[in-house]
Amino acid sequence: MKMKDLEKLNDEGIENIPSEERRKFLKFGLSVTGVFLGGSVLSLTSAYKANAAVGSMPTMPKGQKFPYSPHYTMVMRQNHCIDCELCKEACVKTNHVPSYGYRTTILEQERPISPTKSERIFMPVLCNHCNRPPCVRVCPTKATFKDKKTGIVMMDYKKCIGCKTCMAACPYNARYFNEDVRAVDKCDFCFETRLSKGEIETACVAACPADVRVFGDLADPNSRVYKLIHSPEKVVWVLRPETGALPNVFYMND
């Protein structure tokens, strides 16, 4: 059909297109820009973001190893979150988090989607177990440290002097002062309470009914987290990438 003939056809309007079709169109557009424009536009797609966030080394895409083994990571399929808060409940129970603090929480936002409409979205947050953790660098006594094997940012309560510099340094508000142990407390991907006892996922992941939180080893190409982050047609992002902390919690709408 030639362009002139096309112009003669009635305009069906975009209002009636099923959202499935709209999504396909958007995905197609994203793939096209990603493929054909290279460099700068690629930065919007998953591969670049993932690499940028996972390791500062530009060589990573060429098959370099991830810094930790297992390299624990969490992927948030953000649009699936319904704010049921079962993750928060599970975390509190499992890790004995006091009422005045939290290790993970869910943030919400009313987001405009047209001049007259808005939608409510939810974003679960927790410690990002950064590859370049600002909290670990600033701690005077190594009370907080990055586990050499798993990359999990952990606490050694007995060394914490309570200067709270880690709380000031954290870009993600992931730390609180636990009066019971007189030390700063934070998420450790349930290392103490679950992983070290043979469990393979965190309490929040196990409790999530909507399959929002996906936990696993990013160094394993067969893991679900690896596959989610390395799906070229998806946009994957991290929170506050400008701080240079190289977080290990990734977000996507899947």
Binding site: Q109, I161, G244
Partner: protein, 394 residues
Amino acid sequence: MSNGFSLAATAEPKVVTPGLNKVTLVFVLMAMVGVSAGLYAFYAGHHNVYNNTREMPWGILISSYAFFAITSTGLCLLAAISHIFGGNTLAPLANRMVWMSIITIIGGFTLIGVELESPWRMAIYNVTSPNLTSNIWWMGTLYGMAVGFMFLEFFLILTKQYKIAVALGVLGALAEVAANTNLGAVFATLGGRPYWYGAQLPIYFLASSFLSGAAATVLFTNFAHSMRKQKMSDTVYTGVQSASKLIALMLLLIIVATAWRFISFYVGGAEQGRLAANALMNGPLATNFWIFEVCIGLLFPIGLLIITKMKSLPAMTTASIMVLVGQFFSRYDLVVAGQLVPQYDGWDNLPTYFSYLPSASELLVTMAGLGIVGAGFMLGERFFGKAFEDHAEH
């Protein structure tokens, strides 16, 4: 120690009067009440008596600690420069500066001692588990060393062993500069806090230390003479004038630094930095910033010093008081503004700014810092006053 030391030789009977005794007592009481409030916090729980939160972990105790630490650095540096190079006009004021540098940092240490939640662990793990990438570790260690050096230096001054005293003064000054610059870096290297992050803060802190140190020198020297009801000698007066010139110079530098610092937030960079700057421009910290930090702390004193051409002692003293008040507010504004903007701005119906106002306990502890410096000054004049008047060439 060849010369020995006797209080009889250094004590100054002129400052032992009933009136001054009462003033000393007031300062001691302030210190005791404040320290008690701080100790009570360990029993009651810091979160119950201080207004710090998860989102705003640092408040007036940290900013006041920074104020005292920065003043201490200034005093120590100016004293060391005078002692090393001698012959300059500040030298006659230098012995008192060393003492006051020790006192101001002890005031600061007291504040941070009751601000830390578990300071006793510091004594162990600062030594057995040091983190060399931590600016807090370096700052604490270096200020600690500086106090040690200065105590020794001061003892040597009292016993008139000036040559070794100068050497220790140099060590003390180096430790103080390194500590001060690490204090700046505590804030300046936090990438998650755009209002603090950047290369300017450490040099700004050092410039502030010269400013505060010079202002403290003028103020304490003047007070010391008022207490003795004694007119300043020409050499001391010339020294006070030199310190005032330094104040004017440093005010100029800080004004320039402040102006560009704020302009930089409005021409680009992270939104969080801009929002924090707004807090000072026309937000919750605007009164602090415009009235106390800018007018009282910077513009009025530089105006006063320039108009009076540093020939009026009351003007120089007033300018010094204004500078110190301004510096106190400046530290507060910096510490608070850096945390005011929520990390997840835009989510959870978070306010544009968190709210923080010091609690009664925090204000009492802050007063303790002032009490310690005041009492330290009064007792210093009482027991070592003659040594401060000693103008021997070093």
